[in-house]
Symmetry: C2
Subunit: 440 residues, 2 copies
């Protein structure tokens, strides 16, 4: 018998690799934060220091939220039912100008991480100001994240010029060089907010750094039309001319694509992050998910921020992605349940350059794991656990979460975050923001 740290035995284990496989009554052997083996539960091979029995649960890779702005959870529901540019220009950007500082980012990111962990998300890709605060909060919580080094042409409280954004971002990248859980990505906000100069600098620096380049791209038809009328070029065309369409590209939203724009994305090995609920809520347009996946584009899934969603529930997002893809493709076989689960796990890991470490339950990968209790009325009976996870379950059915073998959620309780304190701080921000809005 081989000694290991932890043996997790579950009713169903869904490794995501191979695609669509469900292993009944299996166990995960974990040692030193990594998966050693996936084996039948009856096998007596390991002597674990800790044994976890999950008789009603499906165990999956931890979910990867490939696009969010975590701190904006403090703006959840502040301004709804508005079009993107009205929402940004008249509500979100003014609110950010007034409220965002290091404390806001700390408190908002903690709120977001608490929600994500409780909902089975073990890794998120973020784009926001004060990314050093985001990294700090993640490190304290034991959360895995890809912190975006945001770049934008206009001044904010965090930086004044694109050069300053880049300088501060690179400083953070250096500071995080030895972090096990936290990596970085370049995060130029969008083609319409970042000029060629900074994008060229990112391209040059990335010859050496080889980071993901996380950018909003083709979020709306308006963005595309305006770019064409101003520059004669579609935004994707410009990004391609800047030599940024390559395996590092993490292009978020990607609505309003022409049929001829899909194959080149696949050939370039570029990644797309689909944010279905945000796209629908802001009437941003439809991302041709089924066509892209059939062409071989790696499509991951993101919630976008809680200000445009209004939650960070990746179950809800998987369900919406699977349903919307069928409706848009006019094909009920588009994005079946197991594909939606792969989008929310392995495809996200691949988009973030982390698929050698996370995204599936295979030996050698990090023990980033979510356990989902399917015994409740709303998910019974169970014929196909993956169907249940995608079409019936919600984040509240997640009971346990591990990141790198560390149990951060235990029987629905957060191990590294103080939930009451987080709620108290969120309430205090709401009171201040609401009072200022009422007074205005």
């Amino acid at each position: 018998m081989e000694s290991i740290d932890t043996l997790i035995s579950a009713r169903w284990i869904i490794p995501v690799e191979p695609d669509g496989v469900v292993l009944e009554h299996h166990s995960l052997a974990i040692q030193g934060g990594k998966i050693v083996e996936v084996l039948p539960a009856a096998t007596k091979k390991y002597q674990p220091a800790e044994t976890i029995e999950l008789p009603n649960h499906a165990v999956t890779p931890g979910l990867v939220n490939a696009h969010t702005h975590a701190a904006m959870s403090l703006f959840r529901g502040l301004a709804d039912d508005l079009p993107l540019m009205d929402w940004l220009n008249n509500h979100i950007w003014p609110a950010e100008g007034k409220w965002v500082n290091d404390e806001f980012v700390r408190d908002g990111t903690e709120l977001a991480i608490a929600e994500m962990l409780k909902g089975g998300t073990t890794c998120f890709s973020d784009m926001y100001f004060f990314p050093e605060e985001t990294a700090h909060v993640c490190a304290n919580a034991g959360m895995r994240a890809v912190v975006g080094l945001i770049v934008i042409d206009f001044p904010t409280v965090w930086a004044q010029t694109a050069e300053e954004y880049l300088r501060k971002g690179l400083k953070l990248h250096d500071e995080l060089r030895n972090s096990e859980l936290i990596t970085t990505a370049f995060a130029p906000h969008a083609p319409y907010t970042v000029s060629d100069g900074p994008l060229e600098k990112i391209r040059t620096m990335n010859n050496e750094l080889n980071l993901p380049v996380h950018i909003h791209l083709h979020e709306t038809a308006h963005e595309v039309d305006e770019a064409v009328s101003k520059t004669g070029q579609r935004p994707l065309e410009r990004i391609a001319d800047l030599d940024l369409v390559n395996p590092n590209l993490v292009a978020v939203h990607m609505t309003t694509l022409l049929p001829g724009e899909i194959d080149p994305l696949a050939h370039a090995g570029a990644n797309v992050v689909h944010c279905p609920q945000s796209n629908m809520k802001l009437a941003s347009g439809f991302c041709p998910v089924n066509a892209m996946m059939q062409a071989g584009v790696n499509v991951a899934l993101g919630t976008d921020s809680a200000a445009s969603n209004n939650d960070l529930d990746m179950f809800d997002e998987m369900r919406t992605a699977a349903l919307l893809a069928k409706a848009v493709a006019n094909d009920a076989t588009a994005v079946p349940a197991h594909s939606a689960l792969r989008m929310a796990t392995l495809n996200g890991a691949r988009a973030l350059g982390l698929d050698d470490q996370i995204g599936s339950l295979v030996p050698g990968k990090s023990a980033d794991i979510a356990a989902i209790d399917l015994s409740s009325i709303a998910t019974q009976p169970v014929y196909e656990p993956i169907s249940q996870i995608v079409y019936s379950a919600g984040g509240t059915q997640v009971t346990d979460v591990w990141i790198a073998g560390r149990r951060l959620l235990k029987n629905r309780q957060l191990a590294t975050l103080d939930e009451q304190m987080i709620l108290q701080k969120a309430g205090a921000w709401r009171d201040r923001i609401q009072a200022a809005n009422s007074g205005a």
Copy 2:
């Protein structure tokens, strides 16, 4: 001080009438199963036998699920990611032929009612075989329902001919005449499964009975195209020729509408039930919800069955309805949160002919109420409770439910149903069905 049965005081009360209003720190006074008054919580006017304090909750009218096939919850996730006619012809109808009997309908409906109550739904409109069993289970549970008197041309285990369906249905209607909570509707399955004869009989009998006529209509483009090629008529045109387009019509799905078909529906006072998740999952097409609501059509909301959804969560359905309407209309202001909540409450009540009794929290209506705890991480902070309910909350945040003043869900526990027994029966059905499928 006036004696009453119950006083429910909540952080927020959302009466739905008037539209969009949120009353902070208010109370509902309840006497004899009916709402007596909605008043500020600080008012000392009533002497209640029971006082309920809900300091973190939004209280809304109980949700109305205007279209489902409750018993099919036992088929949840049995066959997914398939087009409607393949799903029906090769999976659902054969499974029904093999398994559906009175016991199946009892056990499946109990499972569905348990899920609905736990998710804040206090009334559902059903269409299924053995409707007398559905009515019986509802009566035992204290659930409000509109039981569909199903009619279909082909024989099933419940009836052989359209005449027999109608005869059995009318017998049930008579038996339920004195029921407070359970009413009936004619439920001809669909234009493509019910011929003119039975539809004409329903029309004639309804001159006297004045019941809702609950029918699947324009579920898919295929249905419409096939009708046109066989008969030269679009299904809606045929139903109109049969004089069934009137305030009793409860037309479910209504995708594939021509612009000119919307105004006549509004003028006729007909009702539409939108089932967004089912429509997306089966790639059935888009219902023009925003255009219909702007034309004045009463649009209610339904989950459809758990076999095509795959849950009966009306929160999920409200969210999807609001999001999808924006995407389809290309207008982020379409179906704002308060409209989605009205669709799921008052509009449903109106479609079912029950808006004098339920659907809003106003004096004189029945005390059909849902209490939603918004204190959890995923719904904090709260700026706009209606936004939170529609865009962030899920059915699992419902803690308490009353129907006609009777508390059927108390701190998330079912008062009239045995949850463990329901789960056990669902598991037993799953075992039998799965064993037969594996053996085949």
